[in-house]
Assembly symmetry: C2
Homo-oligomer: 225 residues x 2
Amino acid sequence: MRDSLIAAAFQLFLERGYEQTTVDDIVTLAGVGRRSFFRYFPSKEDVVFPDHEQCLDDMTRFLAASADSDDPMARVCGAARLVMRMYAENPTFSVQRYRLTREVAGLRAYELSVVWRYEKTLGDYLRARWSDRRDGTLRANVAAAAVVAAHNHALRHWLRSGGEGEPLEEVDRALEFVRATWSPDAPAGADAPADGDEDVVVVITRRSTPMWRVVREVESSLGES
Amino acid sequence: MRDSLIAAAFQLFLERGYEQTTVDDIVTLAGVGRRSFFRYFPSKEDVVFPDHEQCLDDMTRFLAASADSDDPMARVCGAARLVMRMYAENPTFSVQRYRLTREVAGLRAYELSVVWRYEKTLGDYLRARWSDRRDGTLRANVAAAAVVAAHNHALRHWLRSGGEGEPLEEVDRALEFVRATWSPDAPAGADAPADGDEDVVVVITRRSTPMWRVVREVESSLGES
């Protein structure tokens, strides 16, 4: 019933436009009563984004199942990947919805609020993991926003292309850029530790630092693994 | 007239609540007609955020006035600082509005859309500045989101404290974290170049890279300035 309501809603949104479609139109086409609609969807907007609540739950569970040994940045990148996987499961639907969202201001606002909830979920996790760092909260807030931006960069690119290509590869490349920025020593990918030799080492130093000290910093970073 | 409409609106929002206040209530208290209200504000939500349009204009102009020699990250941090300056100019009003926005879902949605416009403005600038980089668009999107997150981190902290402390110092610290992440070689601060000796150098290398090559990379980074 839930699926047939979504199908009916999208058929009408595409035929008549979102604003011109009422909940009554949707339930009439789906052959069910108004109450059935509201049992599944609090509002007409919610039928446009039917899977985000489930995806937010999945993300929260994925983060809660994290071990202390997991690199925090790799973990939030893995969590963001769940969102792309949801979109990738149904390219046609995702592209239709993307086009609809571009046209309807109310849906863009809804989407921004959903994005904000994903960012908050990732930020909550990072804040807890980095609670012992002096700059932990700032770092968590900035990194969560960066992960969401990288995810959305890949998502938008894929949706604009009409759902062509490999969205999960695209999002992995974008997320890797963010992961390497803040967790350079961690293995690449939440589930697939890379070969140790290929880890990236970042050394931050000042121009005035003598070269022998830079070399010592690089050596000690290498020794940490 | 604009200021007295804002003052009347906030007096009523605080006394009765935002939802319970109509535009008619506001214009009656301000002693003007409905048309005057809508000349200044397209909707009741806009009177809650009366300065963002001006601030977005200021930001756009500030970025457009950027020289090619300006470090892009320092410039977007300077642009984000304009937003904090707007909030800091009127602490009481900013704190009242923050509390109101926490309570009213419609205002939170409005605020998210404003934040998105700032992020887009910063991102447009960075995309143009980094258009010759292979990863320029991704880098621009991620960095713009990071700058906005750092700004909002400092802003929220200041608003939650009831407007105590030095908001511009707080935002500078937060923005410096982001600036140093992506523009380590640039002078700190958009308007105050730091002493060259104190520039930060970031060396990114792989574990498998021989030390002589790391040293050469550091030397060539130092030579670029």
